[in-house]
């Protein structure tokens, strides 16, 4: 009896081994992709409304299709501590390739000047890419009697301009204009983009700045109706010695670079302005926590690049008025390092912006 049980056990064991061996080549040749059955989380620093959230959800719908294993993607709105808080969270998340975060580009200058609460180093982030190159326009009320930016500069008037809270991109842009072109701005704070645009429409302020894509998508009617004129644009970075190109929607509006060369400027202020324009170019970049292993980061970067060419993504991008001008992870890292290594006099001027 004992022998029979032993024999049966051996036979059973042999069958199991045979089955395992028969499946082994398949298992060895096709290991389960890392992302299969997993969840990829996109961290966004705003509540579920507004551009950052909308665009992140747009990417989150397509990027997983280009990752091996096709994970599920969710968007997590981390509003604790604003952009700095969300980035702190991303920075200290396990670098396992399952978390991607949206990085507000204004944060680069925030780190440069040592804003309180920052527990990250942008130069160490594992960048994924940016879906679009950022461009910003400087708009002015048409009824203020200025015909060009040069007119405005010559008038020596205090310009009432609209910005969001201190340290945000519109605030940095307006202060940079002030420093570079030796002008005087009275920056009025409004809670959101819509409030700023309403302020310009009712004539409460003279000027303001806004990213080109949302301007064209939501507020072009102000231009068409002659309420505002565009006096300046950051333009499209081409990498050519001729400087940034004018946006095709604003062929007659000079770029910051052109105006810096044409008009009287403060040399250090001009450097501040150029550093600011560099951060603008970053657009809406995405990154993984620092130390994300190469075998996770590379597929993510590849998936991001393929997403940017995905016909479905592009069709929706057109509807969302996102101009697809992706920037590579490498380029973002290089630009971020460039701004963070600004000369001391530029850093000093940026720091002063945050103290006024």
């Amino acid at each position: 009896m004992k022998n029979m049980i032993l024999t049966r056990s051996f036979i059973g064991f042999g069958v199991v081994i045979l089955v395992l061996i028969s499946f082994a080549p398949a298992a060895i040749s096709a290991p389960k992709p890392f992302w299969e059955g997993k969840t990829l989380t996109f961290i966004v620093d705003t509540p579920p409304s507004g551009g950052a959230d909308l665009y992140a959800r747009h990417i989150a719908r397509y990027l997983p299709k280009h990752l091996p294993g096709k994970p599920i993607a969710i968007v997590s709105n981390i509003t604790e501590g604003g952009s700095i808080g969300a980035l702190n969270r991303l920075y200290h998340t396990k670098p396992d390739g399952l978390t991607i975060g949206y990085v507000n580009r204004a944060i680069v200058v925030n780190q440069l000047v040592g804003q309180p609460g920052i527990r990250f180093d942008l130069s160490k982030l594992s960048w994924i890419g940016s879906p679009t190159q950022g461009e910003t326009v400087f708009y002015v009320r048409a009824d203020r009697g200025w015909n060009s930016f040069a007119d405005m500069q010559k008038s020596n008037k205090v310009i009432n301009s609209a910005a969001s809270r201190m340290g945000t991109a519109p605030y940095q842009f307006q202060r940079s204009i002030e420093l570079a072109f030796k002008m005087k701005f009275n920056i009025v704070f409004y809670p959101g983009t819509g409030d700023r645009m309403l302020a310009i429409e009712r004539g409460e302020v003279d000027a303001g700045t806004l990213d080109t894509d949302p301007f064209l998508a939501e507020y072009k009617h102000l231009l068409d109706r002659g309420v505002v004129k565009i006096f300046m644009q950051t333009g499209l970075q081409t990498g050519l010695p001729t400087g940034p190109e004018r946006n095709k929607d604003f062929p007659n509006v000079p770029t910051v670079d052109e105006l810096l060369r044409q008009l009287p400027t403060d040399p250090t202020g001009a450097l501040v302005m150029r550093a600011f324009v560099d951060t603008t170019v970053l657009g809406r970049p995405y990154a993984c926590p620092p130390g994300t292993p190469k075998d996770r980061l590379d597929p993510l970067i590849r998936a991001f690049e393929e997403t940017m060419k995905d016909p479905g993504y592009l069709a929706e991008a057109e509807k969302l008025r996102v101009t697809p001008k992706p920037i590579s992870a490498e380029k973002i890292a290089q630009m971020v390092r460039g701004v963070l290594n600004s000369p001391p006099e530029v850093t000093k001027l940026f720091s002063q912006m945050f103290k006024e």
């Binding site: 909308l54 981390i78 509003t79 604790e80 704070f189 409004y190 939501e218 507020y219 509807k319």
Partner: protein, 492 residues
Amino acid sequence: MFDACISGLIAVLSWPAFGLMLIGVAAGFVVGILPGIGGIATLAIMIPFTFSMKPAAAFAFLLGMLSVVTTTGDLTSILFGIPGEGSTAATIVDGYPMTRKGEAGRALGAALMSSLVGAIIGVAVLAMLVPVLRPLVLAFGSPEFFMLTIIGISFIGIMSGQSPLKGLLCGGLGLLSATVGMHGSTGIFRYCAPIMFLWDGIPLIPSIIGLFAIPELIDLARMEVMSKKPDVGEIGGVMQGIKDTFRHWWLVVRCSLIGTFLGLIPGMGTGTAAWIAYAHAVQTSPDKSRFGKGAIEGVLAPGAANNSKEGGALVPTVAFGVPGGPAMAVLLGAFLIAGLHPGPDMLTKHLDITFSMVWTVVISNIITVLAALPLLKYLAKIASIKAALLTPIILYLAFLGAYSSSNTIGDLVLLVIFGALGYVMVAYEWPRGPMVLGMVLGEISEDFFISSVGRYKAAFFLKPSVLILICIFIFNVLFPVIRERRRKRKAA
């Protein structure tokens, strides 16, 4: 304009817009009732589904959902004392005591019918004002908006009932807590530096749930059932609540107009409309002592204002691209996807689409009321479930609702802190309403103040429109005092 109105109606009633609206209404019904799922977050998740839809169908789907969220949110407030949505907290003050008194059906009927009337008045006003909408909104600048918030704050005194000093102190505490966070213009951290969770201020939802739900839950845990004699008459007292709406029709109309007007002010209507309407109901009532103990007017006023504000909030969104609130900000994304540009065109070239939105709000609210009415008598019976069974479920929903605010543990800590505060306030009869009004209005008021001072310095007080609003503010503060004195003198 009439043609556009009819085209809008046809667009909503045609297929597939009508079917999509029904799906939206069903989703909104569930989302509104469950405190853990925010209407705004759900709206954001639904946006991708609209990529292939035509504009009228997309807005029928999204607006259909949005417009019932506050309606069904009132049901959670009344039955459990938990705000189903951040904006439905004011309904708790009198709605929940009604449930405890065995009048859940009546309160639910009143909330539902006043919501419907409010929604209809809100969009009717919107439709009537189409020709003057843009100049109307542009006539108000930051200084005027600031003064309007000050008038709103003056309601704190009115909501304080029999003990104005306690009310003022609670309102002051609310205003003070609204100052926590990073200061908008200076970037200075106020009372929050080491705690990153508080950088953007004290989140409203966990605080309000804590203030209102936790004390009631502690109370409920000590009872056998929530209400010993649930009023489940013919249809659970629901018909009585519906009749109440028409018995107090003038109050409902006034509160609907308050909601519509506040909805017009970007950022203001969402949280404040219901509270200011509630305060107005208290202010105009001959017997203020009934409020907070289950007065039907305390349910009708916020119910009407909450829904009418959505009509008002559509105005800045549609006509200027300035979202009237967070939900409207999400809706703005849908505009882009549908290939529409908010602005003057929406009131001229695309007026039919604007009207389709108006019709969606009206029709979806009618459908909700019709669908909810048969359910109300069963919902009202929840009050008779054993407290031992009900308490953990409500506690779970309260924590879930609080956590949905910023998805961090800080939400839960805040819920517990405000829960303890709420418990002490109830025990010593300190009113919680003025505190919430202070919290809600404090931040908006400061935002408008910063913009006004930033632009005009102190000279903004001398603007004629601001001076008129200062007079209204003084009248609002003094009128109840004078009326009370006259009444006493007459009685003597």
